[in-house]
Structure formats: C-alpha cells, structure tokens
Symmetry: D2
Subunit: 350 residues, 4 copies
C-alpha cells in the first residue's frame, strides 16, 4: 500500500502546490475512493486567490476539493452495500448528528460538521483533490447506470442548487430571477426550469455565460454591466455575491415574494430595502449547502438525464492543477473546470 | 339625520383639526357605527407630525383613525347578523377580493385595499375618528360578552401582533427578542408569551415602557440607550423602526432563526449582515397588517381575557384631540392613548 | 338582443335537454361571453347519470358546464381591461370574499361560493353550456397569444391538477403515484412531470388511458384490473374515487409521505391504514378545486406550451350534446370530450 | 463495580419479573446513569398485557422503560459537559443519523433507531427500568435548576405532546379537540393551552381523568360513554386509539382543519370520512415520537414551571413493580404511575 498520494494543497494565497500527502487510514466504516475527477468550486478559487473563504483563513496546509467522483478501492469491514470497483460520487458533508441543528433536522447547518476541503475548523478538514481519499461509507453514493463520472461529479454543486430551490418554496408557474451566471447560478437555472418555473431571467456582467444560459432555456439572459430593466418576479436567487445584484433582486421581487441568498456577499453589512420588505411582506432567506437526501436527489436527477454538459468547460490532469485554477478563474472562458486524478475515463458511461 | 358629524381631520403636518365632515350614505350592505372610542396609532402620529407615513403624503384633508369600537346605529337592508344597539369593533381593512394577492389568499397584501384613514390611495380612504362611521357590514365584529369597548378597540393593533407572530412560524418553546417597546412591540410581547415562547427579551431606549414590559411577563427588558449584550434567540421581531435595532436583531438571531420586520424603517436601503444570513440560513421577513380572520381571532383573545389593560395610558374627549396626540407622542408618558367620541362608557363591560 | 339562448339543461338523472333558457342581464361589472367551446367534466357526467354529484341533488333544471372558453360579446361599464372580441377562458369560481375561509385566504373552500353549473346551493348556480354566458369580469382570463380555445378550455381541470400538486408539498425529485387515469389523473401526471417529479407511476383499470399516459411521459402505467405490485413512492394522488385505489396509495407511500385525495370517494366512511399513518407520520390531505391565481397559472402554462393535446378525444356540436355525454362516459374511447357552441373555430390559434 | 443490577423484565404477556440483569459496559462516549425514577408508559403496559405493542412482539426478555431520570454515576472519556452527580433526564431515542429519514431531517422517523425498551428491532433495544443504565452522553439532558426528578421524567411523554402540537401547525387562537384523556391526551391539553389554543375540548369514557382535565384548564371535558355533541374545531388530536373517537374527530373538524393521529389504533384499516376530507380539504397526519430538540424543549418547559403535577398518580418502589403496573392499568385510579429505583428523593428540587 502506498504511504503517500499526490494532492492539490493550498498553503497560502497564491501558493498552491501539487505534492505528496500521507495516505489515510481506513476505519471499519470507511471507504477508500480512487478519485477519478474533481470539480473546482468557487470556494477552492477563494482559498487559492486569498488564502481563505468568507471568515475562514488557511492556518495549515489544506488539501482542497469537495466535488469528487471515483472508484471504490477498499471497503471497511462494517460497510454495507459498496464493493471494490463501484463508481461513486462523494457527499463531502458529514454532519455530527448530535448538535442543536442536527437534533432539529437542519443537518446542513450542523454546528460541528466535517466538510471536505474546508478551513472552517482547526485542524482543517482535508479535502479530496488527491489520488486516494478515505471517507465514511455513508458519504459514497453509487453512480447511476449510464451516467459518466464527469457528469456525476456535478452532484455536489447541483445539490446546492436543489437546496436553494427548496428554500424558495413553491416555484411551479412562478417567475424567477437569478443574479449571477456562474456554475451555481447556472445550476439553479437548470433546477428552476426542471421544477416548472413560469419563466427564468438570469443576469451577469459577462456575456459568455449568458450565451450558455440562453441555450439552457433561460427566457431572458441580461447583461447588467450596462443599466438594464429587469422583469417583475416572485422569486429571486442571488448567486453572484454582488451588492448591486442584491439590490436588483429587491427591486424585482413583488409583494409576497422571496429572495434566496446563495452567493457569499461582501463581509459585514449589506443593504436591503427595508420598507419594501415590510409593506410587501417580502422575504430574504439564506441558503447554505444541502442535506444528504438532497445530494442523493441530485445524483438521481443527473442519472435521469438532467443535462449539465454545457457547463463543463475543460479538464486538466492533476499535474496541471495551476493551469486548471487559472482557467477556472477566467469567467469569459470557463464555467466548471475539472481535474483528473487517474487514468479512469471520466467521459465513459458507468 | 344629521348631515355632518365632528371628526379629527389632518390637513398637513402639524395641522390637525376637529371639525365637521359630511355624514356618509348608508348602502344596502353597510352599517353605520356610532363610534365610542378610538385608539391613536403610530401612523396617525406620523400623519400628524410629518403629513404622511412611509411613502404616502396627505393630498387632501384626511379623517384619521382605524382603531375603532362603537355601537351599531343603522343597518343596511342586505346586512345579516347585526342589529341596532350591538357593540362592535371595526376591522379597518376591506380588501378588493380580485387582485393577484387576494386571488392567492394574501388579502393583507391586497393591491387595491381600502384601509380606513390612509393616504395610500387617492382620493384618500377617510378614517374613523368621527362621531358616526359607515362601513361594510362585513367589517363589523361583535364585541364578546363581558368585554369593554376600551379593550375591544385593541383588536386592531393586536391583530398586527397576531399576524407578526404568525409570520415567525413555530414559536412554542423558542427564545424571542423584540426590539421596540411601543404598543406594537408590547402586544407582540403579550402574544408571544400567550403562544408559549420559551423566553421573551424586549429592548427600548426609554425606561418607562420597559417597566411595563416586565410587569407583562418579559423575562428581560433591556434599555439599549447604553450598549447592552442581548441573549441569543431564535426569533426576533423588529418593532422600533431603528437601524441599530435591526442590526441587533441580526446579531442575536442564531442559525436557522428568523427576523420579522414589523416596524416601518427609514426610507430606502437598510443594512443587514448578508453572510450571516447565507451560512446560517437566517431569514428576514416582512409583516404587514393582518387578515380578517386574524382580526376576529384577536377579538376572541381579548374576549377570553388577554390583559391589554396595562397598555392603556389615557383617554381624551374628541374636543381635546390635540392634547391626545401630544400625549400619544410622548413615549415616557404614554403607550396607547384613546379618543372618546360619545357618551357611551368605554369602560363598561358589554 | 336575443331574449333566450340554447343551453344544455339537466332536469333529472338521464334527462338532459338542449333547450332555450333566458338570456342573462349584464351588470356593470359583468362580461357577456359568446361561449365557443366547453369541456365535459366528471361532475357533469354525474349530474347526467344520477341527477347529482357527491351530496348534491338537482332540485331545479340546471344548466351544466364549468369548463368554458369563448369570445367577449359585451362588457359592463365598470369592467377594465377587457374588450369585445377578446378571447377568454372563464374561471367558474366566484368566492364570496367575506366568509371565514375567504378571510383566511382559503378561497377555494369559500363557504358561500358561486361555482358555475353546480347544485351545491339553491337556487342552483346555473352553468355555462349555453350560447351566451354572463359572468363577473374578474372571472374572464385572456387567452394567451398563440393558444387555441380548445386547449385554453383545459385551464379549469388543469387548475384542479395544479392545486392538487401544490397540496402535495415539495415534489422536485420525489417519486409519485397517481391512481386513476381519467382527465384529472392525466393532468396531474402532466403537472407532476412539469414540476420535476423524480418518477411518476399511474394506475387504472382501463388500458386505453394507460397507453396515453405512457405517451405523456409516465415512467410506469400499470393496469390494476389484475393484482399488481406498485413501487414505493413519497407522494400519491388518489384520482379515481375507488377504495381499492386509496388502499393501494396507503401501501405505496413511505414514511413521511403524503396522499392527496382529489377524486370524490364513495359517500360515508372509507378505510385507511391508521397505524401506518401514526408510526410513519404519513399524511392524507384533501384537495378541492383551486384559487383564482392557480387558474391564471394554469392558463399561463397552457400558453407556454404544456401539451394537453393528447387528452382531447372528440368534439360535438351543441345539438349533439347527448352523443357527447355518451362518448364522455365511455372510458375506453374517451378522455376529454368537448361541446362546440358557435361557429368560432376552437382549433384556431388566438 | 457490581456485575448485575435489578431490572423490570418482560418475558411474555403477563410475565413481568424484577430480576438481575448484567451491568452494561461504558464506552468512551457513554454515561452511566443511576436511575432514580421511571414513568410507566402505555407501551410498557402493552408489553405487559399482551407481550407486544403495535406490530412488535417480545422475542427475548426485554427490560422495559423509556421515561427515565437519575444521577450521573460514571462518564466516558470522550463525553463533554456532564459530571458525576449531575441530575439528568434521558432521551430514549438514538437515531442512526445516516438513513434516508435522518438524511432529510425526520430523525423521529429514523429507519434504524435505537429506542430504549422497544422490541421493534432484534436483538431488542433493552430499556431503562433498571438500577443503572448506560446511554450515549448525547442522550442525557441536565435537569434545570429547581426542577424535581419526578417532574423532569415527564419530559419524554411531554415531548410526544410537543411534537404532536407541532404537527398540528398554527394553533394560536384555534379551537382544539382532544379525544382521549390518558397521559398523552392530558399533556397535549397542557401544551395546547400553553401554545395559545382558542379553546380546548377533551373527551374520554372515564370520568376521573376528565375531572383532572377541567382542573388543568380544559374549556370542556366531555364524557362520551354516552352520545354527546362535540363543538366544531379546527384541530383535533386523536389520543385514544379508538375508532369511534377517530370518527368523532372527523365530524368535529371543519373545512381546512387537521386531525393529528397520536394514539396507536387497531391494527389494519380504520374508517375516515373520505369526501369530507376532499371537499373541505381536511387533513389527517400521523405524529410519532419527537426529535432530540423537542425533548430539550420539553425539559425547558418543565423547568419554566409547566405544571404536570396533577398527572402524577402514584409511585412504587422497584420491588413492587407488579403493583405499579396494575395501578397504571386502572384508568379510574391512575394517570401516570412512576417506579422508584434508588434512595434518591424524586420530589427534591435539583
């Protein structure tokens, strides 16, 4: 058994290294996954660019990565239902099960969660951009027949979108605005259309993703780098992290409507139209990550054919991770960029 | 039949007059109420002090008043279930029944509502601070046996509190913060305790109402004119209209918690802690007025003995309305100030 | 102005006549619609076959019909936004706006509703299978551009399906069972797929509609005239009115799941598995009609292309109404049968 | 360390023994509780009387008991926040945390739960009617200052009532019916009043508990051993397990109302009024156990003074367990009967 594996490790802002890290021990309830493909997420980019995300800062070398799919390589003695060779996608979230939020069923808000590749706790929860990864067997979800790994690995950000749409309440027949056409905004677009939204308008300040959004079925995809009028809607998803976009959501949402905050905003206070909220009973609600059940629902939607293909912009071998991160940061060129960790073909149907 | 009645009419900021206005015609579905007692609301005070409230400005003389109780004097031919001599409390809200919000059951958000004593539409919806008032029979709710008119007339602001508590979702056993110990904040305190809140903390910058709040059962009543630490809560009601209070709500509410905005805030944008909302899935929701069913529930709660007595600070005859408005505006002296419009005894049990 | 129009009048069980009835007066808020096309509903069939529906019996001649589309012929003085010549679909429901249920926003449960073509009140609310129909202007919804009248008229039963799906709660990604492949079951199938159900299984005892269901996208369409195993689901819609189907729903729905009762059942008591409900916290909820907003959402869905075409089995001229009712009652031949009341082409796009 | 402790063991119907059982090993995350007092629940009585409860039958000797309070005797190495000598009440429920229901936050429906003193799984989950009990530290909730153990131990059935009231939705100001005045029905009465129900009517066929219900604040307590008219309500809790009571709930609940099933019913199918459910959109929902957060809320309510004292009918020493079970089964004499397991005084405030 190899005692070390290659991994993508963030040491500080702009100090990202591909280097060996120690192989992980396999507990009785664990599974070792030979990682095949990983998606680079906005938070990975934040760790790379500024050495932290939100309020969390890297305090020790951190293996990045929480969008992961691969092949089961070893199975602990107490694990049922998984076998060596199975293709799986990894749920990066392991809630504690005993805190106040877990006790009331808000497991995505677990106060003591272990989330792969996150500096929110110390020692950090090391991530999955590595050749081999050990996780609890309960975090491994089989890839449905016919699905490729390069699509299965979208399950994680798709779960974020599924959860966000759930936070919006009834969406069938309702008009929707999405501000921000990055991967999360785009996946919310797909899920909102899939859930029968009456119409979906999406905005961005970059033209390239808006073109993709039109192809995916957005009724309107509006470039707001110039002032633009937005249609009235009942539900808005803020997925850009921009204050101007938040303000636009506040103006577009009608009485009784709801704004779902998905994108992390600037630290501290951000402005909302208070009296419009009172007299129109508008609602602003945060949306954070997803539950394990939503993760499995996302895997099933991908298995049933939800077409995330247009969101995949490119794939780089592990050794070229720095190029991958550079590409992922260029919004005119890229939506979702993937890393490849082995010779398993990510484009082959399972 | 008298062709005019005395009324309290706002002409402009600081121009409030007690003067005759034309008596109103009685339609087949209408009831004429001899008004006995009226409560002065914060919005009445805003019309008095600045000639408007929120975004609405007085454009023609406006009879104020929407907290009203009295005795049925005449009944239209098509009205069932009401008779001359009945003691009634008046629901000031008449939703249109056909707009988008009414069609979906959000009648308190009716886009074409007629609400007594409001400049929101033009011609203005004239109010009920007058000796005789004609309203639709459906707006008259019988006063329960044993209840006095001076208490029954609390039904309107109590409805606002009942609706706000409803907007908070499940409250049983949960810890609650209320910012602002004016009449609405105080009634939310009563309703939250009645609904089984785990604990209620209330804040204000004036000591007098905090003393009353302690008597009403608040577990903590904190003067925030000096910096003060607030306990963590799951639900906050912002009932002061102050940005500092809104910020305090944002800090006090834990993950999964909700802030209900009840008080009108400063015009335009107000600050909220965006990332706390995202990562803790906090929610901010507006609360506006009430439904007719909530109004009737409020009347029933008063009939069952909900003790609003400590909130009644004083009563003035119609002729002394200016004194009444002056008293109502002094938070160190007054909570709820009433006007008396007839010789009917507001303190007699019905 | 003609003083009478031809109408389809139910006098008693099996006594259906095409005969003249008095033309209706036009009030200030009313619109007269030249009816072009009407859909025959299950309740129309019940009036025809047994002289009543549910607990309601015909006590005077009753013009049937509540699925109606046509052309505006006259407009009352107080009606805004509608003009002679407009193509409209008619919302048959006029809630009272003042009862307990309306006050709390459950307008579809209005205790004093006027619903076209119903014997629920006396005098009966006369229906719309007539050449000209007068209704409140608020009940007329413009047909979206490009939609035909023969499709627009599906708005009414589609609203029932939209409401039923709303009663099911979150449906995105969930597995669904529908018992009964009549027009309502079929429209629930369409709406459930449109709302992103994970899979939809539909059952019936007749093969013909099951074939259509497969074409509409059902993952499984099972003939239960022979004993058949049903897959586990999270949501079931009972749309057949059969006790056996209700029992099947109870067995198929897993813990935490919900059964929505849409079809009218046998009078009196029906059996459910009580302990399965307790220990699995299963839920059984009724679903009745729709709100005005849901009606407009249904019209919009049709305008956006929701394909109800495969449900239309045939159309008969007014004079052949008896043939139409005979055809509509034959489940092997028919799903939705329509009546044509004028020379307006129901198949022409508006 | 003693190698055995005395326990109350059910071997079969009517074969209940007080006998030694092996002491339990203490894991790193476990706590050993010296049990002071235990409450006898209806399910304990079922195991005693018929050797099973619902669908579960005793297949090996089963230590009964899941309503438990006591003193911490030993603490595992990995347990935080608990010390020897602490007074605690035990949450009997340990959900698995990984099943489908746990993943979606319905932990009370956990498909693989370990619930103290239950034959639902095999080997059985042994219960807590024993001198010393080892449980996961997360299941031990500190007794609030000033609360006695004899009241703290009501936390478990009170949690069932808190959960049931939560399943009813908004209850503030609504009229409520409870069928069955056993301990659970009585605790629902207390919680419903505490949550601001407009009125509460409770029914039973035994006069003794009805007298207690009146003292606890029920607006009406009706003996239904003779035919009796029940008032219309919006919410009903079925807590008797009787079909006649279920039928009464169905008749009493108005349109839009909800029936919460709490009591286990006769095996198999039970009758409900199907069409009343459809046309009035009535709802029937199961309620099962509680979440850990609800358990803690129940403890806090007891600490804040919720008065369960009138429900305590008697207490027996461990050696007299058979007498205790006999007393608990006599509804004319007993509501809640307790067992005492040590010389710790259950009536002393902590």
């Amino acid at each position: 058994m190899a005692t070390s594996v290659q991994a993508v490790v963030a040491h500080a802002a702009h100090d990202l290294r591909v280097e060996p890290v120690a192989a992980q021990a396999l507990g009785a309830r664990d599974v070792e996954v030979r990682v095949a493909v990983g998606g680079i997420c906005g938070s990975d980019l934040h760790y790379f660019h500024r050495g932290g995300v939100g309020d969390f800062t890297i305090r020790e070398p951190l293996v990045l990565g929480h969008e992961l799919a691969g092949i089961v390589a070893r199975v602990g003695d107490a694990v049922d239902g998984l076998a060596v060779g199975d293709a799986v996608v990894v749920d990066p979230s392991a809630p504690c099960g005993v805190c106040r939020q877990c006790r009331r069923g808000r497991r995505n808000l677990c106060l003591d969660v272990r989330f792969l590749g996150s500096a929110a706790r110390f020692p950090h929860a090391q991530g999955g951009f590595r050749e081999r990864l050990v996780v609890d067997g309960a975090q491994c979800v089989p890839v449905p027949p016919g699905l490729t790994l390069e699509r299965a690995v979208f399950a994680e950000p798709l779960s974020v979108a599924v959860h966000a749409v759930g936070r919006a309440g009834a969406i069938l027949g309702r008009d929707v605005l999405i501000t921000g056409a990055g991967p999360i905004g785009m996946l919310i677009l797909l899920v909102a259309l899939h859930a029968g939204a009456g119409s979906v308008t999406i905005t961005d300040i970059s033209e390239a993703p808006l073109r993709v959004a039109r192809r995916l079925g957005a009724q309107a995809a509006i470039n707001v780098s110039e002032p633009a009028a937005l249609p009235p809607v009942e539900i808005a998803f803020e997925a850009s992290g921009s204050e101007a976009a938040l303000e636009a959501c506040g103006e577009a949402v009608g009485p009784g409507g709801r704004i779902v905050l998905v994108g992390l905003l600037a630290p501290g206070l951000v402005p909302i139209a208070g009296n419009r909220m009172v007299t129109g009973e508008r609602e602003v609600v945060g949306s954070f990550r997803f539950t394990g059940e939503e993760f499995r629902a996302a895997v099933a939607m991908l298995g049933a054919g939800l077409d995330v293909g247009p969101l995949l912009s490119g794939r780089f071998p592990l050794a070229s991770s720095l190029d991958a991160f550079a590409a992922a940061g260029d919004r005119d060129r890229s939506l979702k960029v993937q890393l490849q960790f082995s010779d398993v073909d990510p484009a082959a149907a399972r």
